[in-house]
């Protein structure tokens, strides 16, 4: 197995290692195929409160509460979930809460479902309008560095940071089996 294949398989592990490095203690998520391995790693990690949400907007409140209580938090969601959060993101801007969001993209490369395109195509622009700094990752080898840099910006600078994990990185969704 060459290095490229290894990192392709292990990019969720690289994100989890960054969570450990910066001491993230709460992770909110809505179940998602692209994030499934990272979710499993967080659930197994005794240092992380894994919080399964009914809608992504709940996660924004969770992050605010965690920070008020002295803990760092991250959110995992699909691009469609960004739309569910828009008004709740105002909490981050109004109070200056650090927020790290890892977003698996839908509605782009090899998307089979046109209904995903409407939100997926405006996800990054929506995040920017909400005050997020956004960083996109297409290559497995870039995940560690980009997520690490995003963590440092979020938690050293009390900033909202979104990392967009592209559909090319995640791979085609297998939907017909």
């Amino acid at each position: 197995m060459d290095d490229r294949t290894k990192s392709a398989l292990h990019w969720p592990d690289a994100i989890h290692a960054q969570f450990r490095r910066v001491g993230i203690r709460q992770v909110g998520y809505v179940p998602d195929a692209g994030h499934s391995r990272l979710i499993a790693l967080c659930v197994e990690d005794p240092n992380i409160h894994d919080v399964v949400l009914t809608t992504e907007q709940e996660g924004v409140g969770l992050v605010a509460g965690a920070v008020l209580g002295g803990q760092r938090a991250a959110l995992l969601m699909q691009s469609s979930g960004v739309g569910n959060c828009i008004n709740m993101f105002s909490l981050l801007r109004n109070c200056g809460f650090p927020c790290l969001v890892l977003i698996t993209m839908r509605g782009e490369f090899a998307e089979f479902n046109p209904w995903q395109v409407a939100m997926g195509s405006i996800t990054e622009a929506s995040l920017k309008l909400c005050g997020f700094l956004t960083y996109r990752v297409d290559e497995p080898n870039d995940v560690d560095d980009t997520v690490g840099g995003g963590c440092d910006m979020a938690f050293n600078g009390d900033l909202p940071i979104a990392i967009l994990l592209s559909q090319r990185l995640i791979g085609r969704k297998q939907w017909n089996k």
Binding site: H49, A64, G65, A66, L68, G69, A73, S90, L91, C95
Partner: protein, 189 residues
């Protein structure tokens, strides 16, 4: 029916290091009317988010008590949060809903509780360990005991009169509210 200011005042008597999150609108004014406190996190927006802020805080501070004091419209906007809290079972989290059955900030339109939607039953169905409906001031002692020592998560639906007492406005500077809260909590940790 309860007088909202009297009920909240009695509820916060001898609050000690209780961590309080207040929902936007009248609950924020009610909490501020009891006297400002650095361990109050006043919301001026983010409708539907108060219970989840309480959950994040309760998970981060398992040794302290967390009270979310909010309104019926606010909790209705984040009803799924009750299911999320039910999964995590935070023993130190209590949500008190000041239920006037109306959207007071927007012109007193009736809310879902006016039509009989039962928040205590919703909380119980979401695995809250206790749920309580109160409408008389004599019950405030029991609610206060639950806030300080009840095994959560607990939801109390407090039926208040739908009047509009004078507004008592805390600072609207969210950065200040956040930093002050964090510094005060840090000082007692």
């Amino acid at each position: 029916m309860l007088d909202r200011r009297e009920f909240v005042r009695e509820l916060l008597v001898e609050r000690k290091d209780l961590l309080v999150v207040s929902g936007l609108g009248s609950p924020t004014y009610d909490v501020a009317a009891c006297g400002d406190h650095p361990l109050n996190f006043y919301l001026w927006g983010a409708m539907g988010g108060a219970a989840m802020i309480g959950l994040g805080l309760a998970l981060a501070q398992p040794g302290r008590r967390v009270l979310v004091l909010t309104g019926d419209g606010e909790v209705l906007m984040g009803l799924g949060s009750l299911a999320t809290i039910g999964v995590k079972q935070p023993g130190n989290l209590v949500i008190v809903v000041l239920d006037n059955q109306h959207y007071g900030e927007t012109g007193m339109q009736p809310s879902h509780t006016r039509a009989g939607v039962d928040l205590v039953a919703v909380a119980r169905a979401c695995r809250f360990t206790d749920g309580l409906y109160v409408s008389e001031i004599g019950a405030v002692h029991r609610v206060r005991d639950l806030v300080h020592s009840g095994g959560g998560p607990i939801l109390v639906q407090a039926r208040i009169a739908n009047d509009d007492p004078p507004r008592v406005l805390p600072t609207r500077d969210g950065h200040k509210i956040k930093l002050r809260f964090m510094e005060a909590l840090n000082a007692i940790c």
